[in-house]
């Protein structure tokens, strides 16, 4: 029975995480010695999944144009049923974690989000995933007739290998929604925390919102998203959607730079999945130094502008 890869799209194009999810799905199908198909809603460039060894895509070109968890879950459940799908691979993005539980309940499927690698066992299907907000891992057995694996962001990586990819147009017959979109606001032209390779984050050590140009200037040089610690969002210095940590957004980026953040256990939990962590803090006893890869003890107000300038020069050299 085949593997179904659920691909996220936006503005009629593949989302960036499509590459990693496709790579995971193809690797899983190979391990299971079965075929795999991707399903995508509204993606003009669906054929580009061929760069990641995907040979077949079912492309849905009717139904809601914007992400609609209910409608998409209904349609994917329908497709999975008709095609005897045994394994579904999806990302662990906010949208995926909206859709996947709906899908799992419809299919009576086992579901494990935040998988960090290819299943360690195929029978019973056993997935290693993060738990306790990145403070531990758990090995979860998935016992459904059909099971859903949510690939952790930036956990598996991308395997590029170009093959011929056939895109088959299908019509959604079951894409009904019980929600109506009233409005959507989204920043444009700036990296977001979920999608950025680099995140620059500021804490209370920056003393006030008027000093955030330090974070923003550094972020701009690095094409980074900006983030903040919980106290900063609680005090209203920055909006809540920048709060990363246990009760905020998770961060699993390649490079996380923490400026003036002491590193409370709840903050570290939220950012632990990042590959490389750099901390700049005047207090050498700040707990973040125990969790970071690189650290500078010193005054952020002196260091950060200098670092920004030096990185600008470094980037200019290419």
């Amino acid at each position: 029975m085949p593997v179904l890869i659920v691909i996220e799209t936006e503005n009629n194009a593949l989302k960036r995480n499509a590459a990693e999810v496709a790579s995971y799905g193809v690797a899983l199908a190979a391990k299971l010695e079965t075929s795999c198909t991707a399903i995508a809603f509204h993606a003009a460039n669906a054929n580009e999944l061929g760069h990641y060894s995907v040979t077949q895509v079912a492309h849905v070109s009717n139904g809601p144009k914007h992400f609609d968890a209910h409608a998409y879950a209904s349609e994917i459940a329908d497709f999975a049923g008709k095609n005897n799908v045994s394994h579904i691979v999806i990302s662990s993005s906010a949208d995926a974690r909206f859709l996947a539980p709906l899908l799992a309940a419809k299919l009576n499927a086992g579901y494990a989000p935040n998988a960090v690698k290819i299943p360690v066992e195929l029978s019973p299907l056993t997935v290693k995933r993060t738990a306790f907000t990145n403070k531990a891992f758990t090995y979860t057995q998935l016992l459904g007739d059909c099971n859903i694996i949510g690939v952790g962001n930036n956990a598996f990586g991308v395997i590029e290998n170009t093959v011929d990819c056939i895109v088959e147009e299908i019509k959604a017959e079951n894409a009904n929604s019980n929600l109506e979109q009233v409005s959507i606001e989204k920043i444009t032209g700036k990296a977001t925390i979920a999608d950025a390779d680099v995140v620059v984050s500021g804490g209370r050590g920056l003393k006030g919102p008027e000093n955030w140009h330090l974070v923003e200037d550094l972020a701009e040089v690095l094409d980074a998203a900006t983030a903040c610690s919980k106290p900063v969002s609680d005090m209203g210095w920055r909006s809540h959607d920048e709060h990363v940590g246990q009760t905020g957004k998770p961060v699993a980026t390649n490079l996380y730079i923490a400026i003036g953040i002491s590193g409370a256990i709840q903050h570290l939990a939220g950012v632990n999945s990042s590959k490389v962590k750099v901390v700049i803090n005047s207090d050498p006893e700040a707990p973040f130094f125990k969790a970071a890869d690189y650290g500078i003890v010193g005054d952020a107000f002196e260091i950060v502008p200098k670092l920004t300038e030096k990185l600008k020069a470094f980037k200019a050299l290419g």
Binding site: A104, E185, Y294, G295
Partner: protein
């Protein structure tokens, strides 16, 4: 308006995460258990609806009597009635099935559950429950208004917000932003005394089967010591990030 808030009991956010029985069981010794923070944001919003709009607020939990103190706390901060569905919480789907069956036997306009628990981070229960009940669901909810039989819920998306409208009954996945941290209630003596008189019902479970099973836990590998770079040698940091870490 009748509101149901689904409560999960989790280790306090500062807890040391440790395992016993050959890493097959969470070590709850010396661990303080609390209301799952994402549930608490939802409960606090529900209590706001009670105080401002006269809603009735019930809380429900799937678990054993170990959780009774957590449910009493919900009553102490303002919930009117607590239910405990008497079975161990096996996994997200099993819990969602228990809750869906409970909701079917009762009548609620608004059902709130935290977007995810901070222990197993499944983020499964609210969505699964909505799908089983075939009613609307909005998660990562940071704004909620109810007007007659219509709910307008705002969800946090990557880099922004989306506003969605649906008919009641609706399931909401709550998180910080639905109310602020400073809005959270601390039980006072009066609330604690009143909670003792409030109805607390133990409900027989359906014994819904699980679709997943956690068989083993693992602690992250110990981290190598931080490499400190002198504040006056930022070129060294750039060099390390470029050549050693390969992230520039």
């Amino acid at each position: 308006m009748n509101i149901l808030v689904c409560i999960s009991r989790v280790p306090d956010t500062t807890s040391k995460i440790d395992f016993i029985e050959n890493d097959t069981e969470f070590n709850s010794r010396d661990v303080q258990f609390v209301i799952n923070p994402n549930d608490e944001f939802g409960l606090t919003r529900a209590i706001w609806f009670k105080e401002k709009k006269g809603a009735q607020v019930h809380v429900v939990h799937v678990g054993t009597s170990k959780s009774d103190a957590t449910l009493r706390k919900c009553l102490a901060i303002g919930a009117d009635k607590a239910f405990r569905i008497d079975t161990p919480a096996l996994d997200g789907l099993a819990v969602a099935k228990e809750l869906a069956a409970f909701v079917k036997n009762n009548s609620y306009d608004l059902i709130i559950a935290g977007r995810e628990s901070i222990d197993y981070n499944g983020a499964m229960v609210p969505g699964m429950m909505a799908a089983l009940l075939d009613i609307p669901f909005v998660t990562n909810c940071v704004g909620l208004e109810i007007d007659g039989t219509t709910a307008v819920a705002e969800r946090e998306i990557d880099g922004g917000r989306e506003k969605l409208k649906g008919s009641l009954p609706i399931v909401i996945g709550s998180q910080k932003g639905l109310v602020e941290e400073s809005d959270l209630r601390i039980p006072n003596m009066r609330g604690i005394m009143q909670a003792r008189q409030k109805p607390f019902e133990v409900v027989t479970a359906q014994e819904a089967p699980a679709a997943t099973k956690d068989i083993k836990f693992e602690r992250p590998a110990p981290k190598a010591e931080v490499k400190l770079v002198p504040a006056d040698d930022l070129d060294q940091l750039i060099d390390l990030l470029h050549k050693e870490a390969n992230v520039l």
